[in-house]
Amino acid sequence: MANKPSRWIALLLLAIAGVYLVLAYQLPEFPYAIIDSDVLPKGLGFLLIILSVVLFATAKEETAEEKEKRTIPKNDLVILLITAVAIFIYISLLEVLGFLLTTILFLLFLPTVLGYRKYGVTVAVAFIFSGVMYYSFTYLLNITLPQGIMPF
């Protein structure tokens, strides 16, 4: 089991299929439909169960190549996590601070974390890109991006 990650994934999928099926069985009935809205979900739930069982049964030991594909050096893993968290914070602040401010902050932060050291370029890109994006969406495409605390 230790070197067969497919088995863990199969178990996880089995759990997902189970939850999905439970929810599918709770769908309300609609009296006049020949095929009600629960038919497809139920079918899919059972199909996923069958497929997970097949995946579990046919799981092979990982080849070295596959293993290498999914091993990430610790530093990179940290950076990926920081990126994900940065995106999360970006989303949370987007409507609070507004597009311009949040994007500038994001574009100052992320390249630096990723290891880009030319700060002058970073600052220029952050300000110019955010400004151009904001202008083109708001004034050229007429799609209003969140203004936030900024006056324009």
Binding site: I35, S37, L40, L51, T58, E66, L80, L107, M133
Partner: protein, 506 residues
């Protein structure tokens, strides 16, 4: 064929505004496609938000440019860096990279550009000739035929995608599950929305496409961000080809524009398989197969012709049936729907202008690719030297704003992030993402045609066994799942025997 329509299509495509859109599309597509890991699906998804509010023709021209540009951009990074941007250009790197190492990168790029152009243009002619017939046939299709056809699309893409068939099928089933989220169109029941009104309309396809492809691929870029320094080359050398070299390309171009087109029409096959098959068959045909892999001109021309021809071929089912056969055309279908174009058998009758507009825009996209990109190649190659860290950050912002511009709610942005994580994990554990997105797009349509069929028959499943076309399609879908499994089993057995024999002789 209706020549006035195609002329009208060209008229639309050649207006100054649309020429600019074609240029922007090709350029942006090339740049995005050049980034290793980011393919046409991401490129199209990233560019979709720009097409909001555009008139359909301009948006289509933009998208066609992005599509061809991304495929070509992939070849560029295959040749210059040996890092294919998309799986469809892996075969190009076999001979393209060796050629670049011999200092003939410019030549390799020119061969790629010319073959792409030829493959694309020749196959658009096929598309023009074939599509009306398929559309005529498709008009007679009922819900059972459609259901069977979509099922075939899913089974074919699952069995043909790289890696394990079972994993691909799981990806497809999960894609279908995600498609069930939202209010059921027929009964109004809300499914899996957990009382959240933002989920009532279901999850927008753009969120899935951007998360599963663009964001997940950006994660891969993050892991590979340090790669470029060592291989940076700004000088691509001379672009000129001699007459003899051009002549040498003639054979592969004519052969593989046909082969690529046919493979592209088939559901599930697409550019990757077309380019590999072309490469292999060209090598078999060659008098000197040992020169392949060492910078053979035909070794670049064959896959490049083929992958572009396959992209046009993939438009046949998309435009005539309204059913995408691959991940890329699934996203293109989404792009068409965003601008208010519903492809299908009636499109040719009801909206010939749009149909021919798309075709004309494909010619224009190809032409732009050639006349703009060829002279720009030396400059475009410098794009590869732009710091990855900056590009990664900008692409992330593009994805987020793209989704915000459709939904105007941060809730959907969190879902986007979730799909990004899912897409990354799927890549880590070798679950293909193309079946997922195709299933997601087809899910609603499949359920609808299934229900229509069952309503016609008043609940009897016999309706699925009354049309020969439906039965034939079901049989082919079953074969597409079981043949690879069975042949895989026999192959394994043969290999085991081989090992045993080797063991004995050793």
């Amino acid at each position: 064929m209706d020549f006035s329509s195609i002329l009208y299509g060209f008229q639309v495509a050649l207006s100054p505004g649309n020429l600019i859109f074609a240029f922007i599309g090709v350029l942006a597509g090339t740049v995005i496609g050049m980034l290793p890991g980011l393919g046409p699906i991401s490129a199209i998804a990233i560019m979709i938000p720009l097409s909001y509010g555009m008139d359909p023709a301009s948006a289509l021209i933009l998208m066609a440019g992005v599509y061809y540009g991304a495929v070509f951009g992939g070849s560029t990074s295959s040749i210059l860096l040996n890092a294919p941007g998309v799986s469809g250009t892996v075969a190009t790197s076999f001979d393209g990279y060796p050629m670049a190492q011999q200092g003939k990168a410019g030549k390799a790029l020119a061969i790629a550009a010319i073959s792409s152009f030829a493959g694309g243009t020749i196959s658009v002619v096929f598309l023009m000739l074939v599509a009306p017939f398929v559309a005529d046939l498709a008009v007679t299709f009922g819900p059972t035929e459609y259901f069977a056809l979509m099922l075939l699309g899913l089974t074919a893409i699952s069995s043909l995608s790289d890696g394990s068939t079972i994993k691909a099928m799981i990806a497809a089933v999960v894609g279908l599950m995600i498609a069930t989220v939202g209010m059921d169109q027929q009964t109004g029941t809300s499914r899996f929305t957990f009382g959240n009104p933002s989920l009532l309309e279901g999850i927008d396809f753009l969120i899935v496409a951007l998360g599963l492809f663009a964001l997940a691929e950006v994660c891969q870029l993050i892991l590979r961000r340090k790669e470029k320094e060592s291989k940076k080359k700004s000088d691509v050398g001379n672009l000129k080809l001699s007459k003899g070299e051009l002549k040498e390309m003639g054979g592969p171009i004519s052969r593989h524009s046909v082969l690529g087109f046919i493979l592209g029409v088939l559901p599930g096959a697409g550019a990757t398989i077309a380019s590999f098959l072309s490469y292999i068959s060209e090598k078999r045909l060659s008098k000197d197969p040992s020169s392949f892999g060492k910078g053979n001109i035909k070794g670049i021309a064959a896959p490049e012709t083929s992958n572009n021809a396959a992209t046009s071929g993939a438009f046949v089912p998309l435009l005539t049936l309204g059913i995408p056969g691959s991940g890329t055309t699934a996203v293109l279908l989404g792009a068409l729907l965003v601008v208010g174009v519903q492809p299908g058998p009636l499109m040719l009758q009801d909206h010939p202008d749009v149909f021919w507009g798309v075709i004309a825009s494909m010619y224009i996209g190809n032409l732009f690719l050639l006349i703009l990109n060829l002279p720009l190649i030396p400059f475009l190659a410098k794009i590869l030297a732009i710091p990855r860290q900056l590009l990664i950050s900008l692409i992330i912002v593009f994805c987020l704003i793209g989704v915000y511009a459709v939904s105007f709610s941060t809730f959907h942005l969190y879902i986007l992030l979730g799909f990004g994580v899912l897409g990354f994990l799927m890549r880590m554990f070798s679950f293909p993402a193309a079946p997922f997105i195709l299933a997601f797009i087809l899910g609603g349509m499949m359920e609808q045609s299934f229900r229509q069929a069952m309503t016609i028959s008043n609940g009897s499943y016999n309706v699925f066994f009354q049309s020969n076309i439906t039965i034939a399609l079901f049989i082919v879908s079953l074969l597409s799942i079981f043949v690879p499994i069975i042949s895989g089993y026999f192959k394994k057995k043969a290999e085991a025997n081989e090992d045993e024999r080797k063991g004995r002789t050793a």
